[in-house]
């Protein structure tokens, strides 16, 4: 909108106008002189700006005609030697033409001036976008926005604020701390719920602004279809904000919106990368917590592996090997998935490990009962439970003592028999304040096989939505029974993968395979 009104400076403008069009004025003057006029002059406030014939200055002009532009008299044309109404009418017409030309010339100058202003603003906006683009935080961006906006809009005070979805809101103002922040936020929340831009009158801030009266322009800034930021400018009272100011402020706000979006995207990408890095670290920690080496126990062939469905999982297995105590192992599964399950898995594993390691006579029953006692309160508060199986091998009898707190599937296959499921003897850790699990035993003589897995195997689903199930698992174990512990484990993973085909692994898969071997 090119409507900026420039104040006319008559003296300089009329003189400049005559100078530019001097040849045309000379032609006009000579026409009058040829028709009998003795002098032709253009005057302003009693001073001759240009006269014809050259050097002739009449004392008393016959005709005087003012040059009017709008409601302003910018000068007059004086002619001597031609009295009469016909000459007056002709002079009036000529002066009207001069005034019209003057007006046109003035408008062209105004338009050129507006274009220069607009071009300046475009350059300034480019600089603004360039200067803001180097900032990577919202606070830096808002500060740059306020400083550049104040410079472009020529405001006395400036402020900007941002309300993130999480974390504390940010407000910056310049000069710092000059205006009560509560007032700035009032502007924001009014703009948030109402008008596209807010001025002093619509805000009715007369009482709160009494000690610091200013004209206010506030532009809300939308990002992702929501007003999450705003830009405010203040000028001394009476100066107000005109259409070009508002248009420029809007353009700045749009620019700021794009920049805020960019900063948010950068932050999100950065945060995601950070989370990924932390997840990777957590995965690494969890892998490191698993036994690094398989134990060598006379009379047993042991293999164990764990494959989480996500980067971190809720399954674990553990070996507790002490020279003067029987070999003990544990396997467990915390309900739920991902980070929460992983955290509680670490707790469960540690609870079982410390009991098996430090208690005077850590039978599987005692280990699980004590772990349940320790974990029950925390698990109840969080609303989870953990299934766990603890086994302890007694080589002198080639027997495995075990206790099972809600864990499944546990498959036992004696050398001379078919694979069967060993049922849990108590509920999982965290269900009841006191665990009722008992010590049980199975033989682990040469050829006997025990596979303690997690439900990630039995619950695996194929594209037809069929579950792998316990029967397939038992049948498979029967066919694999002659193989080594590692080969059995590998085959179980492979069979599970083949069964689920393209379906994603939905649950963690962990297993411990223990087979009795001849010494």
């Amino acid at each position: 909108m090119l409507s900026v009104r420039l104040r006319i400076k008559p003296m300089s403008m009329l003189a400049a106008f005559i100078q530019v069009h001097y040849a045309r004025f000379t032609t006009l003057a000579e026409a009058w002189l040829a028709n009998g006029a003795t002098t032709f002059g253009i005057w302003q406030k009693g001073q001759l700006l240009a006269g014809w014939p050259a050097g002739n200055k009449p004392d008393q002009p016959g005709l005087v005609m003012p040059i009017c532009v709008g409601d302003q008299v910018i000068g007059d044309v004086r002619i001597s030697g031609m009295p009469g109404s016909a000459a007056r009418a002709r002079l009036a017409a000529d002066v009207e033409l001069i005034a019209h030309l003057f007006r046109l010339e003035h408008e062209i100058e105004c338009m050129a001036s507006d274009l220069v202003v607009t071009q300046d603003q475009l350059v300034a906006l480019y600089r603004l976008s360039h200067s803001m683009s180097q900032y990577l935080t919202i606070e830096e961006t808002l500060t740059a926005l306020v400083m550049e906006s104040m410079r472009l809009i020529k405001a006395r005070n400036g402020f900007a604020m941002f309300v993130p979805s999480i974390a504390d809101p940010i407000v910056v103002q310049h000069p710092p701390a000059e205006i009560d922040e509560a007032l700035l936020w009032r502007c924001f929340w009014q703009a948030h719920s109402a008008a596209p831009e807010v001025s002093l009158t619509t805000l009715d801030l007369s009482t709160t602004m009494a000690d610091c009266p200013r004209d206010l322009l506030f532009i809300p800034i939308k990002t992702r279809d929501t007003v999450i930021a705003g830009l405010g400018m203040l000028r001394d009272p009476g100066r107000g904000f005109q259409t070009p100011d508002i248009k420029l402020a809007r353009a700045i706000a749009n620019q700021a919106s794009a920049q805020i979006e960019k900063v948010l995207l950068y932050k999100e990408t950065f945060d995601q990368a950070k989370i990924r890095a932390e997840m990777e670290l957590a995965r690494q920690v969890q892998q490191d917590l698993l036994p690094k080496q398989l134990p060598h126990v006379t009379g047993l062939d042991i293999f164990a592996a764990s494959r989480p469905a996500f980067q971190v999982g809720g399954d674990f297995y553990d070996f507790i090997c002490q020279t003067d105590r029987p070999f003990t192992f544990s396997i467990g599964d915390v309900s739920g998935k991902g980070f929460p399950a992983a955290l509680l898995m670490t707790m469960t594993r540690m609870a079982i490990h410390s009991k098996a390691f430090f208690m005077p006579e850590p039978t599987p029953r005692v280990v699980l009962q004590q772990s349940n006692k320790d974990l029950y309160k925390d698990f109840t508060q969080v609303g989870v439970f953990a299934t766990a199986f603890v086994g302890q091998y007694h080589p002198q009898h080639q027997m495995l003592h075990y206790a099972n707190a809600g864990h499944s599937p546990v498959i036992y296959r004696p050398a001379a028999g078919a694979a069967t499921m060993l049922m849990a003897d108590s509920t999982a850790i965290g269900i009841f304040p006191v665990s009722s699990c008992e010590d049980q035993e199975v033989a682990l003589r040469p050829g006997d096989l025990l596979i303690v897995a997690t439900d990630g195997f039995s619950d695996a689903r194929n594209p037809d939505d069929e579950m792998f199930g316990h029967k397939r698992l038992l049948d498979l174990v029967d066919t694999l029974a002659e193989q080594s512990a590692q080969d059995i484990a590998d085959s179980l993973f492979t069979a599970g993968d083949r069964f689920k085909a393209d379906c994603p692994q939905e649950d963690d898969q962990t297993l411990v395979v223990i087979k009795g071997v001849a010494t």
Binding site: G336, G383, T387, I431, D507
Partner: protein, 112 residues
């Protein structure tokens, strides 16, 4: 998963159909938490239409059971399909819950 909730004789009934697992558990956890907040909370979860439960689902039911019991209430289960009942048996959760064949039996036990 379809979730239907209704009330019968002071018993809040949750009727579930389909797979009850980590993907479908969140709204059920919320409902159970709200229903358990009433005193005394009498909740019946009808699992007749459920063909699979995973450990997240079991944890949701255990959590609901504990919340009810803390407020002097009860959470009963009914209508378990064979394969679902097997999971309760294998994990011995059948010891933790009162399980009924159908709604009528469960409501009678809850209201007596």
């Amino acid at each position: 998963m379809d979730i239907v909730t209704r009330y019968s004789d002071r018993v809040a009934i949750l009727e579930l159909t389909g797979r009850f697992d980590k993907n479908t558990a969140p709204p059920i956890v919320t409902w159970l938490e709200q229903a358990a907040a009433t005193t005394p909370a009498h909740i019946l979860v009808n699992l007749a239409g459920v063909n699979f439960v995973d450990s997240t689902a079991l944890a949701a039911l255990v959590r609901g059971l504990k919340q009810c019991q803390q407020r002097g209430g009860e959470l009963y289960l009914c209508g378990l399909q064979r394969q679902v009942y097997m999971i309760f048996e294998m994990t011995r959760l059948s010891k933790a819950f009162s399980i009924f064949v159908d709604e009528d039996h469960a409501i009678r036990a809850l209201t007596n």
